[in-house]
Symmetry: C2
């Protein structure tokens, strides 16, 4: 298994991508190609011992920064790690590409280089959310912020294929994110999508309210990329704020409460692990003709390692083959 | 101060509205008119002792259920507590109206009966979010799910007036909820709203990412009602799921962790109080010509009491007068 990894992507690049690559090589035996500033990557690699045949470097002289405009930077920075990564994946130099860099640029570069799968009009980013019940896949969380109802149907079919063939779910349920349960609720866009999904072969549950996402009411939840991104970032932001507020309360507390907090730590750590994005690896970019995994910009080395593993699983399980089969059956 | 209260609104009606009304009467000395099924209300009132001159009842033979379609039910159920409440407020039988019932129906009935303030094209529901910093007002969380950019500007002006005159903030900051900081990010709707807000007299910070809401980066955050409702419900849903997950972990834990959890309880209760919607009272329906407060459907008696207090504060602080002044100055 050969994985291409954007060594310049994410808030802690190149340190975390390089360390994550070494971890993935040691733990899973994959071959990793690090793409980025060769000098900087080599310097980071000196900190570790690893099998030299398992890691190589492709130099990229440019970096697309987190705040660069996506489409423009992909056109202008042709020698950036993201553009090179997408191109090398197209040429099958490796089997999958992972980046924690500028999400919009990864979506754009991947779409331009790899093109879309037959039957797909727009790519979508899928994220697995932890819930009280089984994990829930939400598509789209930011690739396509102004989709048509048809795109949501295609996301549904892709999510269904992923749930069946990769997560091993039988007849996965699909829900449409809406602010009410009734089919008459929501914008015209939502209502049209509701009709298309109802008429499809999907195991469509109808509308799913935001709180139901965390209850695990559906295997796949569909939404436009703007709302999906809000859903994702609100969850992160709120979890972060609640943890900070709790810490602040504990600081103010008496010694008994403080001891209590210390003793409760194991339960908190398990909870954190369940919620923590780092555990879930990256988010597959569904719909492009190649395995592309988008990791969180704040990824640490463990998150990168898990994203590399997710990329390998994507390839092993032939996600795209199954997606195309499903799309053709519609 | 005379407050009208929908006794049939919310999941726990009429018990919780009636109990909340008694609490508000005792604690604040307001006069409360309970609107709903007279027999059921009287039965609930028998459980309490209170000054009889402080509570009266207006019978309503119909109830708009939580899942009734809003506009249709307001047209058809003319003798429902919501429609009667809005009409009595219009006729100044009381100073403000509070309902924990069907939100869409309250918005619709209030708009039809009271009409909108001069300079307002659409009403918006404003909710105060707890943050790491100062509280943050988010408009709209569900009155208007498909707004025009101009409506967001009007929400901004109303939020600014509320923050200044009711929350006592000087030169409140206003942010536009978006999935990126840059002004080039987002849908066409967001970009247009960004331009209008930039050109306004508001203290506009530009785009605010979802996580920043909880950091308290802005005093007022603007969004369309669909996204705002997702923001609100995701917060509730996630907090609820995280608490359940933690409880589940604690159940599985050993006795030491369990003791720890018991000792940590005070800090948790403070945190819960900070996050708890019940503490904040209801959400003002901004833009209608009258003081209308929408309480959460899951309101307990304390939440109802706080919503009644919020309604009274709205009247005392002459929110609508200040909103109209601000709107006229633009």
């Amino acid at each position: 298994m050969r994985i291409g990894l954007d060594a310049m992507g994410g808030d802690k690049a190149p340190a975390c991508p390089v360390k994550g690559a070494v971890m993935a090589v040691k733990e899973y035996g994959y071959h990793v190609t690090l793409i980025g500033d060769e000098t900087a990557i080599k310097k980071e690699l000196q900190n570790f011992s690893y099998s030299a045949s398992k890691i190589d470097i492709v130099n990229a002289s440019q970096v697309i920064e987190m705040h660069d405009p996506a489409a423009l930077s992909v056109r202008k920075k042709r020698d950036s790690s993201i553009v090179i990564g997408a191109e090398l994946l197209k040429n099958r130099v490796f089997d999958a590409f992972v980046s924690a860099g500028n999400t919009g640029a990864v979506v754009c570069a991947a779409t331009l280089s790899l093109r879309l799968l037959p039957g797909v009009d727009r790519p979508g980013i899928a994220v697995i959310f932890p819930t009280l019940n089984k994990p829930c896949m939400v598509i789209d969380v930011g690739a396509n912020i102004d989709p048509k109802p048809l795109h949501l149907l295609q996301y549904g079919i892709m999510g269904d294929a992923y749930s069946k063939h990769i997560l091993g779910k039988k007849n996965p349920t699909v829900g449409l994110l809406n602010i009410g349960e009734e089919s008459t609720k929501g914008t015209d866009f939502i209502k049209e999508a509701h009709i298309m999904l109802s008429e499809s072969k999907l195991n469509f549950l109808g509308n799913i309210e935001p709180k139901e996402v965390y209850q695990g009411s559906a295997d796949v939840v569909l939404c436009d990329g703007f709302v999906g991104n809000v859903l994702l970032k609100v969850t992160e932001g709120f979890a972060d704020a609640a943890a900070k507020l709790l810490k602040r309360e504990l600081k103010r507390s008496n010694i008994v409460t403080k001891i209590g907090a210390f003793l409760t730590l194991p339960a908190f750590m398990t909870l954190k692990k369940k919620i923590d994005a780092a555990e879930y690896g990256g988010a597959p970019l569904m719909g492009v003709d190649g395995s592309v995994i988008i990791a969180h910009g704040a990824s640490d080395e463990k998150a990168i390692k898990n994203a590399v593993r997710a990329a390998a699983e994507n390839v092993e399980h032939k996600v795209n083959m199954h997606v195309v089969e499903e799309l053709q059956s519609y």
